[in-house]
Amino acid sequence: MSQISLNINGTTQKLEVEDRALLADVLRDKLKLTGTHVGCDTSQCGCCTLLMNGDTVKSCTVLAVQANGAQITTIEGLASGANLHPIQVAFSNCHALQCGFCTPGMIMATAGLLANNPQPTDAQIHEGLAGNLCRCTGYINIVESVKQAASAMQEKQA
């Protein structure tokens, strides 16, 4: 067992975790942040994607002890209070979710993509989401929502 400290969605949490515990499981089981989903065991599906120190990571492939001292943003921390993040709004507007299981990971991957590249081309969006699987939507509306979110975020900054 190890003692770790994580800054999660702006709040610092001290935790005792098994050395082999995965970040995704600690968030879900210990902190009840069940918006981060686990959809596979080979780091392929992207349902567990979150931001760690500003980078998108798949939290099923990060040991909780590796995240010691990190700043973590999960889907639960993306909105500012009652104000949804433009990516969240765009996903609903564009009907970019059906069952919604992949959605938190898709939204967090999009957040990471747009932070690095605020106006991605279609090809860059496809590449940016290559690590996230969706079985319902065929991705068509997801790609649209990434574009809509990018425009909304640009307008907000302007």
Partner: protein, 763 residues
Amino acid sequence: MNARFTPSRQEDLSLITGKGHFTADHNYPGMLHAYVIRSMHAHAHIKHLNLEAVRAYPGVRWVASAEDLKAMGAGNIVNPVTAKGKGGEEQVLALMPILAEGTVRFVGQPIAVVFAVSALCAQDAAELAEIEFEVLEASVDPEQTTLPSAVQLHGNAPRNVSVHFASGDAEPVNAAFAKATFTSQLRVLSQRLMGVPMEPRAVVAIHDEVAGITTVHTPHQGILGMRNFLALASGATPESLRIDANDVGGSFGLRGGPYSEHAALVLAARHLGCAVSWVGSRSEIFLSDWHGRALILNGEIALDVEGHILAIRFKDRVDAGAYNCMMSTFIGTRNLSITMGGVYQIPALFMESEVVYTNTTPVSAYRGAGRPDIAYAIERLVDFAAHQHGYDPVALRRKNFIAESAFPYKTANGSTIDTCLSEKLLDRALAISHYATFEERRAQSLSQGKFRGIGLSTFLEASGAGTAPKDQAWGEFNANGNLYVYGVTGPSGQGHSTSFASIIEKALGWPADRVRYEAGKANQKLLGNGTGGSRSLYGAGSAILAMCHQMLETIKPHAAKTMGVDIAQVHFENGVWLANGSTTTTAQIIDALKNEDKTSLSALGEATSGATYPNGCHVAEVEIDPATGETHLIHYYAVDDLGQVISPQLVRGQVHGGVVQGWGQAFCEQVVYDSQGQLLTGSFMDYAMPRAGCVPHLTNETYEVRTQLNLLGSKGVGESGCTGSLPALANAVMSALRPYGINQMDMPFTAPKIWAALQKAKA
């Protein structure tokens, strides 16, 4: 919430904020976690099973063996649909026990279940199980499994055949082939697939000793299917089971009934007196979720000199996997036969299919469940025959469409199709896809060294007739001012709540955002079908429409009172109440009522809805790079007649998803076993999935022809995307390759396969 933000679906807000509630999110105090010990062999006798070390491992609370569960009443996995053989023989059935009894017949078959204080602890303990196997020869190939040389899986199934089914009349078909000017034969595979809902299968069960009820949280497609089949599998009474799912992360046909884990966890929750949880890892899911498709379709077509189709016959092979689980018989008999003539007026039809056993994971329904497969086989066959005998594939189709004057049309093997205006849908699809100018684009591509192809499908499918005698919906107003509606069908991403609320808004004049739909009510007494066969919208939706009509009668006295008129003077029209020239709304009437009056308003609606015939015309245009064999989908066009459309946005979304699942089957997905029955595609690293951008441009439209077969007039959309896309995509690939001498190839059309075929054709 943002000032101007209204979610486009009722379901969205929780899902985009991480507040969705899926089965694995349940976390009860003191909950135990299960791990399933599975077979590593495709076919073996269990000579010796010693679980003592597992039981003794710290943190382990119980280890369930096959004997334990049988003693507690466990039965088998359910096979709800059977078929008679072609001579009227009874079907041979090999039912899968909840845990293997003496013999294992596929890799991944459950043998024992460990319950421990954590999932990791249960998994660690499971490592200590001592199992001695006597490994047997495995039969993996569905064609070779019926040969005398193949090992027999079940004592009661000679040649590994479960049933040899037939539909139609062979004699007129044989006569038609004898007099035909042209015949063609084409054998196509609809390869074995994984359904892959993104939420892995999971079960959380908790037993209430006082009430005598076990609550089972699990992704499902409808509470009744899951509850009644789970009762059979676990030995519990249906009344003692309460099925519950808040959010379901996809189903695609895989979640209509229980698996071994459901039965084991119900019995464990009762035995242990605490909550128990099993959440499948993706590796386990690849091994043990029912697989899909796994069909070999051997078609023949007979044409006269003018190109009229005289007859079609099929000889099909249906791989059930190791046991008859859930829907494989239904797929391989009813669904392959009911629309085997497609959209064509064909005087003679005959098909036969053999449902066979192999040492592989059992096969059941996956999006379309035989419908995309047979549409694929017909549309490939018609296209193939057109090219083989020098007909234009569009003209040949047009010549053979069922004439508009012929509806309702009874097919030669007994299906009655109410309407299918293929000519109109074809014209529209040809126009929007610029089909007429394709050869110019082909030439342009060729000038850059690329091979371009265009393919089309004109198709129809029979949606689910349902197994329940009718669908019911219950509506009641709550003190908080919302209308609660309960039904049987459970959503898994389709947006049932949003669609049902739209129906209610129109029929009752009640705001859609004040409707709440839930699958199941506390007593779960309603009748109805689950989600499946594209039928929820028109099946449950028709019951909801009927409920609205009843509810209007219930509200009427209050409307009269509110408007101060006699009840005979008030009536409801176009969403408002009218009396003596004044109007009021349902919301105004309900909101003015005292709570006790409000909550006394309720209504039951019911409707009987059989199968419908969604149909369409899809066109795909592709470009192949001969240097790599890679296919790029340039544009996809879909024109669908889905009957009355309730929510255009959700319909577009369903078509997108269906077409891209079709793209997955056409270009990358396949389950592969080695000759010993070991699964080689056991993870997302080996099983290729469609990813963002695979279908970059998709134009879809609807051509609405209301059906009279249900109250709502809708035909269902869940499966049409898959059904139309397999043949359209495959015909496009063949169109690109045909000039180079390649006339037949099976899915998936991977780059290495196409590249190798081109090299071979060149040689």
